[in-house]
């Protein structure tokens, strides 16, 4: 993957949230390439768009985010996935990370929190461990 360029796919069943994530991204290294409404659409779009970054909701119809994370990581072990979910318990976050997600952001979130999480995901946050 080009260290300076990342292709972002946003996956969420809420149109308002999909557009908000697209708008809020202020990192020049990240190019928004598409959005999907559920896990099944995300897998189809992954084949077409080859994203390198994904933001992933968990509670979605047809195929939930947890199943989709596992499938995407199996297809592309290098893909970086930020789970963005309202499910705020620790076990949910741990489960997502165990399935291969790289980070977890709890809804509701501010634009700043989103950009901080994206920065950590692409490794440009000097505060990241």
């Amino acid at each position: 993957m080009d260290a300076q360029h990342h292709r972002l796919l946003v996956v969420d069943d809420s149109n308002v949230i999909r557009k908000r994530i697209e708008r809020a991204n202020e990192l020049p290294e990240i190019e928004f390439v598409g959005a999907a409404r559920n896990g099944r659409e995300a897998l189809e779009m992954h084949s077409l768009l080859r994203p390198t970054l994904v933001t992933m909701d968990l509670t979605m119809p047809e195929m939930d985010g947890s199943e989709c994370v596992a499938e995407l990581v199996q297809r592309d072990p290098q893909i970086r996935i930020l789970v963005i979910s309202a499910l705020a318990d620790k076990l949910t976050a741990i489960d997502a990370l165990e399935k291969g997600a790289s980070g977890f952001l709890c809804k509701p979130f501010t634009d700043r929190q989103l950009n901080d999480a994206l920065r950590k995901l692409i490794g440009t946050d000097s505060r990241a461990a």
Partner: protein
């Protein structure tokens, strides 16, 4: 978990949601039980079915004007019926999902269902006790209805 604690979880969720998403604080009024009356529905209602250790519903109901202003605060310019439905469902989903921090992993929530129209009826579990939490934001009035067994 006592009823008071349970209500506190959702009140904290409401305050956090407004403070974070639209960055303007909301106030929660005095929660009350709606045992002998059906809580009044507003223009749009987002409903989450809860299953697992607890069963029941969590619903957020709000007027169109309030949801429109919330969308504006989120830099959204499309105030269509679809986006208003989407937002009210997302709020119900977020408030329910956040409650798992306190209720635990077995507090399972559904994808949102949305009712449009003030005449809508919300179905409760037969033995449930619907708690109504009034929410005031700017000059708008919304309600969070929690009915869990």
């Amino acid at each position: 978990m006592t009823l008071e604690t349970e209500v506190g979880v959702f009140v904290a969720g409401v305050l956090n949601y407004f403070g974070t998403t639209v960055q303007q604080a909301a106030q929660c009024g005095t929660p009350h039980l709606a045992l002998n009356e059906k809580p009044e529905m507003s223009d749009y209602t987002g409903i989450i079915q809860v299953s697992g250790k607890r069963t029941g519903v969590v619903a957020f109901t709000a007027p169109k004007s309030m949801l429109s202003v919330m969308l504006m605060r989120m830099q959204e310019t499309d105030m269509s019926h679809e986006n208003l439905c989407d937002l009210v469902g997302e709020i119900a989903n977020t408030l329910s999902g956040n409650a798992r921090r306190d209720f635990g992993h077995q507090f399972q929530i559904s994808v949102p269902e949305v009712l449009a129209g003030r005449g809508s009826a919300l179905a409760y579990p037969a033995a449930g006790r619907p708690i109504v939490i009034p929410i005031e934001w700017r000059n708008y009035h919304a309600r969070l209805i929690v009915c869990l067994q």
